[in-house]
Structure formats: structure tokens, C-alpha cells
């Protein structure tokens, strides 16, 4: 049990090694191996959930080991309410992803090997509590992603792959500078928990180039994370990458990789620079607003279904940002409105999870129709509801979930984000409620154009969604509905950790040296 985190992270690697030794023409064996590896990993995360003590919001199942003593780098793993749901989500989506990519026929061996490597990378980021380790895993994701998009992607795949790579690398280089800055200003340690303790005082009044070090480091790290989220000016890699990537990879991209950004901001920026939170939260909310409106409008204009879903991610992550900004509500300056802070932060974290499941669902469904019609042009369909009712029904549910309909988890998290941020950023929140309308507009309009009207005679023999595909979608749908009707289980996991974060930020912010 004390090594469970190790197992969770490294299990896919074991699978990868195994696959490396399987002759490449035994494709089914390879697929099954991948399925087993990810499946077991998923089970392990469930075990973890079972044994997780929700009442205690701090790190649990910590694993510590010397790594590079000469640089005070160590191998630290841990899980708390913030990372546990993300870990479960990662494992689940990777498991599902294996089946989504069951029909891959090109270089199966390489595909699944890289897929598992990616899995480990993502899981590692969520579970590592050492900043250096965090960075390593963060970068480990890039390479498999590059290949998975670049080799198995769509027509523009090479461009998309390298663009994704460059964007992210640019971000992580800045991040590295920030990390080193923290290392040397905060007593030469990468231990995140240690840093959380030390950094707030250590950074006080430190000036770089006439700016407070807090601001500089915050910006450096924030850009690194913002590119992943993606926050408005750094988002243009996303539609391309999503559109070109194979379905399973789009699922992981939207489902998990985007969460890494938010996770990073909450874990690192919030944890290490409480003052920065106060300094930046307004901007955060504003960026959230821009994401919501910009993404919504862009989605409204798309004719490529996958691009629409991609932009909807930009839009949905905006809610998360707005919710995160709400944390300052708990501060002295804003009347110590703990309710709002909890609502906002909880909403943001919940929204991460929900968007993970919902957008994954959407991408899988897009993949389903693409496999059949071999195009994604919204205008090019029409009347499919009569042809493939089950698919229509599921898509309808997915779309409704996407437009934040009560009864689906998305509604709760969005509502919480709004309610939380409202006391502090009234104007921004009111403006961003237009996003609710935009969501409905682009989803329903797309839905109408694809499924309603007379059946397009080209598609009179379009096959209905098959069992395998159902197997990939339905679990996500169930989760979405379950948490939409009864969110308590999720919020119970995160609640105490959220309190810790809020308390940490609010109590350690000293407004000096800003």
C-alpha cells in the first residue's frame, strides 16, 4: 500500500517494456497488453481512492527517496484531494483510450508503446511532489505526444505535432527558469511541500530587474501552465492539435493534458506564491472571461465538428479559471467570504474533472462519426437522427452535458465557479454568463445541422454505433450523469484539500514586497 503510487505511475512503463518484446505482427497481443496495463493501473487508482482518507486534506501515501543528493533533488510522490480525482480520471481515460484506438492499424506496436509512455508521463505530473520530478514528467509527455500526433494524425499532422511541441517547449523553458529561480531563492530545495512552507517568506521583497521576484516567477510559471490550459493568447495550438490528432489522443489531450495546466497553477502558483494569487486573480478572472466568450464565439463559427469541440474546451476551461480566481474571496480584503472561495475553487476543480469526462465523450463521438462518414463537416450531414438513433441519443446527452444542463455534472461545476467568483468579480461573472447562452447556441445549432432535417441520402446506409464504441462512451456518460445528480462523493474527496489550499493562500499572503 505504501508503494501504490509507484505502481500506479510505473505500471504503464512495465506494459511498454512488455510490448517492446512482442513481435510487431502480433497486433492483438499488443493491444491486449496495453489494455491490461492501463486497466490494472485504473484498478490501482480505485484502490487508492478506497484507501484515501477524505477527511484529511494533506498529502497521503507519500513516497520519498534520495535521487540526486548533490542537487538536493529527490523522488517524492504524494496524493491529495486535488490530484486524486485527476489520477483516477487519467487512468480511466487511458484505459478507455486503448479501446478507442483499437482500430489503429498503422504501426500498432509503436503506437501503444508511446501511448503507455504518455500515460506514465501524465500520471507522474499529477503525483510527483518534487518540482524537478514534476518538470521531468511534464516534459516526458511531449515526445510521445509529438509522435502520436505526427505519425497517426490527420493530413496536417506534421505541422500540428511540431507546433504543439514548440508551444509547450517554449512554455516549459520559461518554467524551468522559474523553477531554478525558486530553487535558489527558497533554500535550495525542489520539495514542493517544503517550498510551500518556505517560499512565501523567502520570496518576500526579493527583486529581479526591478520587479518583485514573486511577480516574475509567477509569470514565468503561469505562461508555462497557461499554454497547456490553454489560456487565451496561448491557445492557438489547441484547435490544430485536437483536429489533427487521432481520436484517442484528442481524448487524452482534452481530457487530461488541459487539466495539467490548471492543476499546475493550483498546485505550484497558488501553493508557492500566495501573494501572487492576490496580485493576479483579477487577471485570472478576466482571462477566464475572454476564454469563455472567445472560445464560445469561435466554436459558434466552426464548420468542422472536431474544431468546434476543441474550441468548446477553450470555452469550458474559462469557467475553471474564473472559479480559481474566486479564492481571494476568502481573504480579509473581500470580507472573508469562505463560502464563495470554497464554491469557486471547488467548482474549478470539479470543472476540470467534468470537462475531462465530457470533452472525452464528445471527441469519442466525433471519432465515431468520422470513422463512418470520413469527414467532419457539420454542414455535410443532416437528418442522421433517423438513421442512427442510439448514436443520436448519446450525442444529444453529451451535447447537453456540454452546454451545462442541470442533471449533468458540468452544470454544477460551472454554477459553482460563477457563484464563487460573483462576490469578487461581479462584472466579469455577469459578462461571462453570456457563455451559457453561447454554449447552448453552438451545441444546439451543430446538433440540429447534423441530426435534424431530412436524412442526407448519402448516409442512408450509415451503420449504427457499435458495441466497442458504446463501451468507450457509456462509462463516461454514466459518470457525468451520476455526478450531475449526486456530486457529493466527488466534493467530499476534494473538500478538505480545497480548505487547505484556501487557508494556505489566505493565511500566508503577506502583501509585502509586492
Amino acid at each position: 500500500m505504501e508503494n501504490i503510487l509507484n505502481w500506479i505511475i510505473w505500471f504503464p512503463i512495465i506494459g511498454m517494456v512488455a510490448i517492446a518484446f512482442i513481435p510487431r505482427d502480433k497486433e492483438n497481443v499488443i493491444k491486449i497488453t496495453a489494455a491490461v496495463a492501463t486497466g490494472l493501473q485504473f484498478l490501482l487508482t480505485l484502490v487508492l481512492w478506497q484507501n484515501y482518507d477524505a477527511g484529511n486534506g494533506s498529502m497521503q501515501f507519500m513516497v520519498r527517496a534520495e535521487w540526486i543528493p548533490s542537487f538536493n533533488i529527490s523522488y517524492i510522490l504524494g496524493v491529495d484531494g486535488l490530484s486524486l480525482p485527476m489520477a483516477i480520471l487519467t487512468a480511466l481515460l487511458c484505459f478507455i483510450g486503448v479501446f478507442v484506438s483499437w482500430n489503429i492499424d498503422k504501426a500498432v506496436k509503436g503506437y501503444f508503446a508511446l501511448f503507455l509512455l504518455l500515460d506514465t508521463g501524465i500520471m507522474g505530473v499529477f503525483l510527483s511532489m518534487d518540482f524537478f520530478l514534476f518538470y521531468i514528467f511534464w516534459e516526458v509527455m511531449l515526445l510521445p505526444m509529438y509522435f502520436l500526433i505526427g505519425i497517426w494524425g490527420g493530413p496536417q499532422r506534421e505541422y500540428a505535432a511540431i507546433k504543439f511541441f514548440l508551444y509547450t517547449l517554449f512554455g516549459s523553458v520559461l518554467m524551468l527558469v522559474g523553477i531554478l529561480g525558486l530553487y535558489f531563492t527558497c533554500g535550495k530545495t525542489f520539495d514542493i511541500l517544503e517550498l510551500m512552507r518556505v517560499a512565501p517568506e523567502a520570496l518576500n521583497g526579493v527583486m529581479w530587474w526591478g520587479m518583485s521576484a514573486i511577480k516574475v516567477i509567477w509569470i514565468l510559471l503561469f505562461i508555462g501552465f497557461a499554454i497547456k490550459v490553454p489560456v487565451f493568447p496561448f491557445h492557438t495550438w489547441l484547435p490544430l492539435a485536437h483536429v489533427e490528432a487521432p481520436t484517442a489522443i484528442s481524448v487524452l489531450l482534452a481530457g487530461i493534458l488541459l487539466k495539467l495546466g490548471v492543476y499546475g497553477i493550483l498546485r505550484i502558483n497558488y501553493g508557492l506564491m500566495p501573494d501572487g494569487v492576490y496580485w493576479f486573480s483579477g487577471a485570472l478572472a478576466a482571462l477566464g472571461l475572454i476564454n469563455v466568450i472567445w472560445g464560445g464565439l469561435c466554436a459558434l463559427a466552426q464548420t468542422d465538428l472536431k474544431k468546434l469541440v476543441a474550441y468548446s474546451s477553450v470555452n469550458h476551461m474559462g469557467y475553471s479559471l474564473i472559479g480559481m480566481a474566486a479564492i481571494v474571496a476568502a481573504g480579509e480584503a473581500n470580507g472573508m467570504n469562505l463560502k464563495a472561495a470554497q464554491a469557486g475553487l471547488g467548482g474549478a476543480v470539479f470543472q476540470m474533472f467534468n470537462h475531462g469526462t465530457i470533452s472525452a465523450m464528445l471527441f469519442i463521438l466525433v471519432g465515431v462519426i468520422y470513422d463512418r462518414a470520413h469527414h467532419r463537416d457539420i454542414e455535410g450531414f443532416g437528418g442522421l437522427a433517423a438513421q442512427m438513433p442510439i448514436y443520436t441519443g448519446i450525442t444529444a446527452l453529451a451535447f447537453f452535458a456540454g452546454l451545462g444542463l442541470p442533471g449533468f455534472s458540468g452544470f454544477i461545476s460551472e454554477a459553482m465557479c460563477f457563484i464563487g467568483a460573483f462576490p469578487v468579480y461581479r462584472g466579469i461573472v455577469i459578462a461571462s454568463t453570456i457563455g451559457i447562452l453561447l454554449n447552448a447556441a453552438y451545441f444546439l445549432w451543430a446538433f440540429q445541422r447534423i441530426f435534424f432535417g431530412e436524412l442526407n441520402e448519402k448516409y442512408t446506409d450509415l451503420p449504427e454505433i457499435n458495441r466497442l464504441e458504446l463501451f468507450t462512451v457509456v462509462p463516461l456518460l454514466v459518470i457525468t450523469l451520476f455526478f450531475g445528480i449526486y456530486p457529493a462523493p466527488y466534493l467530499d474527496i476534494i473538500a478538505s484539500t480545497m480548505d487547505e489550499i484556501i487557508h494556505h493562500v489566505v493565511s500566508l499572503a503577506t502583501f509585502a514586497g509586492m
Partner: protein
């Protein structure tokens, strides 16, 4: 005994949901596509509602109230309680919903017989009933908002039932989006209230308001926000545009949702939140309602589609109710809600049965051009379908406000309320004018409809022989609701046909004083209404008579030519006929601009920002692109498209030229380098 209300409510709430689930998953496989499941479920619901109703009557307690809540989610400080609130209003509303819903189910058995998505249809009806009851029962804003949206969805699904028709699909989308506009207001209202009071439960909210935790402009805004939601659902001006289009749905659906219950949800909400509405908010409410009432009725005059007439009449009647709430007599509003539910649903069933037989007749004739809903194709059906005729006539008399019929009583109460309000505040004399004007016009167009449909000589004689009375699944509800449109039911236990004073309704549903300081007390409103009662009654009878008479002369006796009057009215006639060009203008000034904006933004995002800014620092220099042309589609090239890359690349291009391959150039460079360094260093 105490908790039976709550337990019953639980069943009432979840039975339809169960039916919905069963239908969705197994509907197709069940015998008769499982319609009996839904019908059974709804009938049980009806029985339970009646039971509760009776219990309430027995109780005779005007302040009866039961609440039950549970914690839905809890993060420590932030938590949400969901729960039931059962009082007299709730019980009556539940009965109405259950009753109309049952009628609709039964009516639909025949009306949608053989429809391709028969089971789906019943499933959605179940979903609707569930969410409607959700609205009725909830004791807090969150669950109300959730049910609110679910109602919107079920209406989306039912309007779009025949989605092969683009018009239906569009109408469905329009309905949902228009409602969402209202919902945004609703949600902002919720946030304003929660931020101030920290709870979503009505009880806490009213308490908070009375203790002044929220007041003044904020409170007004909150009230208006919530009312915006009501405007969306109850299709008040200017969000009324969706309701007429919603008639694309099957007629029973129109009866259930777009006449009796769903659209009434807005009114219900306004009644629920009445105590926290500030005078300003109330004024806004009143004006919106009053204006809608008049405005919609003027459109109804000229419509020829029988369902469109009813649709606009619905909008106008809802305006009445809103007006009533605005003027403080929200009991009257609720009263009208109930009566209107009965007769308007009935009218829709009637039109449904007419359309049904028209449809069949046309089908016989293989005529697919003529529109079965166009009154200009009807006429003289009176003898062919007597039951339909008589029941519709009763309802028409009711809605026209003729004494002895339910509509008279409720309308009268409303008009009295507005009149007394005007007496209190003479500057708001317009409100009663709206009311009475609308009353006159209503009487006119309703009878116009009746005459055009049932009297006179058939406009399409070749059809008349194929017009038959509808089967009893359809006539049954007609008769039932027709009966319920007679005044007698509402004045019990007394028999004073012109006043509800002392009736079970007024004794059970009594106005409560608004918690907002500065509002008129319930008592003074009551007094005023009572004093204005007789005057109002006189005027309303007068205007009703005038309207009916005009219709009689114009469409039955034909002594006045509708055409000539229409031409005389000139542009007003066109405006009315074209619904004041609202859809056109919204399309022109709202939807299209938004889409254009969206496209522009997307273009900026993709073509401009990405290609030129992110990819394009180097784009500014045109010669860069020629450089890019040198390499074919390889990474460099893509990087070239990629901006920073472009600069770097040009740089590289220049720099690599230095590497001439000529040895002595190199030597020269070295020397130059040394010298330059020396120069630099000596600074």
C-alpha cells in the same frame, strides 16, 4: 398524517421520471410501445394529487405549509440544500399539472397513433411532467433552476418531435435559446441573492430580505433578474418570440406545455418570489405583463393559423397574470393561472381535434398542399363535430370573460387589481387600459376563430364530408376540461356567480404581505381590489360584449367586411399580421450580427492571430515567404509558416551566406572579429 404530503410529493415527482426512463430504454420493445406505462404513471400521479387536494380542502388551513430538505452537496462552508415546499399553492398547482398532463397523455393516444417516435413522445411527456413538478415543489432556487432548465429541454425535445421538418427543428432551438436568455437573468438573480444572504432556500431568503441583508437596488436587480427567467418561460415581451413557433410541436404538447403548465411556470415563479419584489421591480413586472397582454392580443386578431391565434392569446393571457402579480394581486394571478390552464388547454385540444380531422380529410383527398391548420380552409364544422364545438365554445366564453364562466372570475379579479393599483397611483393609469383593451380584443379574436372554424359555409366543401368527430380518447378530455371552464367549480361552497368571495380558493390561497419594506400590505391590496371590483366587472362585461358583437357582425353576419377594415387599418394590419416583424428584426439585428461576429472572431483567431501573430512575426517581411518557398513541405517550412521561426530562418539565411567557402574570406572575418572585439572591449 403530517408527512403524507411530502411522501405523496415524492411519488408525484418521481413516477413520471421512472416512466421516462423505462420508455427511453425499453419503450420500443414493450407492447403498444409502452404508452400504458406513461399513462399509468401519470394517472397514479393524478390520483395522488387529488388525494392531496382533498386533504388540503379538508385542512382548510390558509397558512398550511410543509417543508423537507436534504443536503445535496457540502464543502464545509459552502453547501446546497435541496427540498420540497408544499403549501396550498403547490397542491393546487400539482393538481393542475397532473390533470392537464393526464388529459394530454390520453388525448395523445389517438392523436399520435402510428407516429414513428410514439414511445419517445411519451417518454418526453414523462420527463416534462417530472421537471414541471420539480419547479412546483422546490423550496429553493437551485432545484427550481435545475427543473427550470429541464423543462426547457423537454420542451426542446417535444417541439422538435417532428425534427424532419426544418421549421420544427428551428422552433425547438429557438425555444431553448430564448429561454436560456431568460435563464441567464434568473441565474444572475440567484447569484445576487446568494451573495447577499448565503442561502438558496426561499425561507431563509425571505427572512434575509426582511432583516435587510439585501435591499435597495441590489434587491430590485435580483428581483428583476429572477423575473427575467419568468419572462423567458412565460414568453413575455420581448422574449415572446418562441411561443408561437413552438406550435410546430404536436398539438397536445402545445396544450400541455405551451398553454397550461410550462409557460405558467414563469407566473408561478413570480408568485413564489413575490415577497422579495421591491416596488420598482413590481412596477417593471406590471408594465411588462400589461404591455404583453395588449400587444399579443393585437397580433392574434389577424392570424389565420388556428394554433397561432391560440398561441398569441396564450401570450396575452400570461401577460394578464404577470400584470396581476405586478399590481400585487398575485392570488388573482394564480387564480387566472388555474382557470386559464383549463380553458386554454381545452381550446388547444379542440383545435387539435379539428386539425386531426382536417388532416385526415385532406389525407383522404390526397391534398398535401392545403394547410390543415388554416382557418380559411375551415368553416361549418359545427354539425360535423358537435362535441368539439360545444366544449370549445364554453372555453371561448370563459376566456372572453363572460359571466358564469371561470375566465370571468379570474380576469375580473385581475382587472380589479390593476384598477385599484391605478387608483393608488394615478400615474400608472396605463395598466388597467392595457388590461381592458386586451380583454376587448381577446373576446373579438376568440369569437372570430370560432366563427371562422365552425360557422358559416365550408370554405373547402369537398372536405366537409370527410370531417368527422374525433374518437373518445380525444373528446373525453375536451368534455372534462370544458366542464371545468364553468364558473361553478371555483365559487364553491357559495353560489355567487359574479364573485369568488369566500370561495374555497380565496379562502385557501390568501395573499401574504411582501417582506420588502415599503410594499403595500396584502390587506390594503385586498381592500382596493374589493372596492374596484364592481366597476371593473362592469367595464369588463362591457368590453367583452363589444368584442363579441364586433366579431359577430364581421365574421358571422358579414355586415362589416373584415377585408375593408383590414385595408382601412393599413400598415397596422400588416404589422399585426406579421407579428410586428419581430422575428425579422431579431434575425437582422441580433442573430446575424452575432454570427458575423463569431465568424469574424474565428477568422481573427485562426487566420489572423494564429497565422500572422503566433506564426507570423516574420510575415511582415514579404521576402520571407519567398525564402519559405525554397524548401518544400518540411518542418522548416512549417516552422517558416511558424513565425518566430520565420525570423530565425531569415537570420539563418543571411548568416549562412557568410560561409562562402572561400578560405580567405574566413581569414578576413577572423581578423575583423579580433579587431571588432578589441574595439568593443576598449569601451
Amino acid at each position: 398524517m403530517e408527512n403524507i404530503f411530502i411522501n405523496y410529493s415524492l411519488f408525484i415527482l418521481f413516477l413520471p421520471l421512472a416512466a421516462f426512463v423505462i420508455q427511453i430504454f425499453f419503450g420500443k420493445r414493450l407492447p403498444r410501445q409502452g404508452d400504458w406505462v406513461s399513462v399509468g404513471a401519470i394517472i397514479i400521479t393524478l390520483i395522488l394529487s387529488i388525494a392531496m387536494f382533498v386533504a388540503m380542502l379538508m385542512g382548510k388551513d390558509p397558512n398550511f405549509k410543509q417543508e423537507a430538505s436534504f443536503t445535496w452537496l457540502d464543502m464545509g462552508a459552502f453547501s446546497i440544500q435541496l427540498g420540497f415546499l408544499v403549501d396550498n399553492i403547490t397542491v393546487i398547482m400539482l393538481l393542475v399539472v397532473a390533470l392537464i398532463s393526464t388529459c394530454t397523455h390520453i388525448f395523445s393516444l389517438k392523436y399520435l397513433e402510428g407516429d414513428i417516435r410514439y414511445s419517445r413522445y411519451f417518454a418526453y411527456l414523462g420527463l416534462f411532467t417530472f421537471s414541471m413538478n420539480g419547479i412546483v415543489l422546490s423550496n429553493n432556487l437551485i432545484s427550481m433552476y435545475m427543473s427550470w432548465e429541464l423543462v426547457g429541454v423537454s420542451s426542446y425535445l417535444l417541439i422538435g418531435h417532428w425534427f424532419e421538418k426544418d421549421s420544427a427543428a428551428n422552433a425547438a432551438k429557438k425555444a431553448f435559446l430564448t429561454n436560456r436568455v431568460g435563464d441567464i437573468g434568473f441565474f444572475i438573480g440567484i447569484m445576487l441573492i446568494y451573495t447577499a444572504i448565503g442561502s438558496f432556500v426561499f425561507g431563509d431568503i425571505f427572512e434575509g430580505v426582511s432583516t435587510g441583508m439585501i435591499s435597495g437596488t441590489t434587491l430590485t436587480l435580483a428581483g428583476v433578474g429572477l423575473f427575467l427567467g419568468a419572462m423567458g418561460k412565460s414568453s413575455q415581451f420581448p422574449l415572446h418570440i418562441w411561443l408561437p413557433d413552438a406550435m410546430e410541436g404536436p398539438t397536445p404538447v402545445s396544450a400541455l406545455m405551451h398553454a397550461a403548465t410550462m409557460v405558467a411556470a414563469g407566473v408561478y415563479l413570480t408568485i413564489r418570489i413575490f415577497p422579495l419584489l421591491t416596488p420598482d421591480a413590481l412596477l417593471i413586472v406590471a408594465y411588462v405583463g400589461g404591455f404583453t397582454a395588449l400587444f399579443a392580443s393585437t397580433i392574434a386578431i389577424t392570424q389565420n393559423d388556428i394554433k397561432k391565434v391560440l398561441a398569441y392569446s396564450t401570450v396575452s393571457q400570461l401577460g394578464y397574470m404577470i400584470l396581476a402579480v405586478g399590481t400585487g394581486v398575485y392570488t388573482a394571478a394564480f387564480f387566472h393561472l388555474v382557470t386559464h390552464a383549463m380553458f386554454k388547454a381545452n381550446l388547444f385540444y379542440g383545435s387539435g381535434s379539428v386539425i386531426h380531422s382536417m388532416h385526415h380529410a385532406l389525407h383522404e383527398k390526397h391534398d398535401h398542399e392545403s394547410d390543415p391548420q388554416d382557418m380559411r380552409n375551415m368553416g361549418g364544422f359545427k354539425d360535423k363535430m358537435p362535441i368539439t364545438y360545444w366544449s370549445m365554445l364554453v372555453s371561448t366564453l370563459a376566456i372572453a370573460g363572460v359571466p358564469l364562466f371561470s375566465g370571468f372570475l379570474s380576469k375580473d379579479a385581475i382587472l380589479a387589481g390593476s384598477l385599484s393599483f391605478a387608483q393608488h397611483h394615478p400615474e400608472h393609469f396605463l395598466l388597467p387600459v392595457f388590461g381592458f383593451g386586451a380583454a376587448a380584443i381577446t373576446a373579438f379574436y376568440m369569437f372570430r376563430m370560432m366563427f371562422m372554424t365552425f360557422h358559416g359555409k365550408p370554405q373547402m366543401p369537398e372536405l366537409i364530408n370527410d370531417i368527422h368527430e374525433s374518437p373518445k380518447e380525444m373528446t373525453g378530455p375536451l368534455v372534462l376540461l370544458g366542464t371545468l371552464s364553468i364558473a361553478i367549480w371555483y365559487i364553491l361552497p357559495h353560489f355567487n356567480p359574479i364573485s369568488t368571495h369566500g370561495s374555497w380558493f380565496t379562502s385557501l390561497v390568501q395573499p401574504v404581505t411582501a417582506v420588502v419594506p415599503g410594499n403595500l400590505t396584502a390587506h390594503s391590496i385586498e381592500e382596493g381590489a374589493h372596492h374596484a371590483h364592481n366597476l371593473a366587472m362592469g367595464i369588463s362585461i362591457g368590453v367583452a360584449a363589444f368584442g363579441i358583437g364586433l366579431a359577430f357582425l364581421m365574421y358571422l353576419k358579414k355586415v362589416l367586411s373584415a377585408e375593408r377594415w383590414g385595408n382601412r387599418a393599413g400598415f397596422m394590419y400588416d404589422w399585426s399580421l406579421n407579428k410586428y416583424y419581430f422575428d425579422e428584426n431579431y434575425d437582422k439585428y441580433l442573430y446575424q450580427p452575432t454570427l458575423r461576429l463569431a465568424n469574424k472572431i474565428a477568422w481573427i483567431d485562426w487566420e489572423l492571430y494564429d497565422k500572422y501573430f503566433i506564426n507570423g512575426f516574420g510575415r511582415v517581411t514579404n521576402w520571407a515567404s519567398s525564402v519559405a518557398g525554397k524548401f518544400d513541405y518540411n518542418i522548416i517550412d512549417q516552422i517558416l509558416v511558424d513565425g518566430l521561426g520565420r525570423i530565425t530562418d531569415n537570420l539563418g539565411n543571411i548568416l549562412k551566406k557568410i560561409q562562402t567557402g572561400k578560405l580567405q574570406n574566413y581569414l578576413l572575418y577572423v581578423t575583423a572579429g579580433v579587431i571588432i572585439l578589441m574595439i568593443i572591449q576598449s569601451f
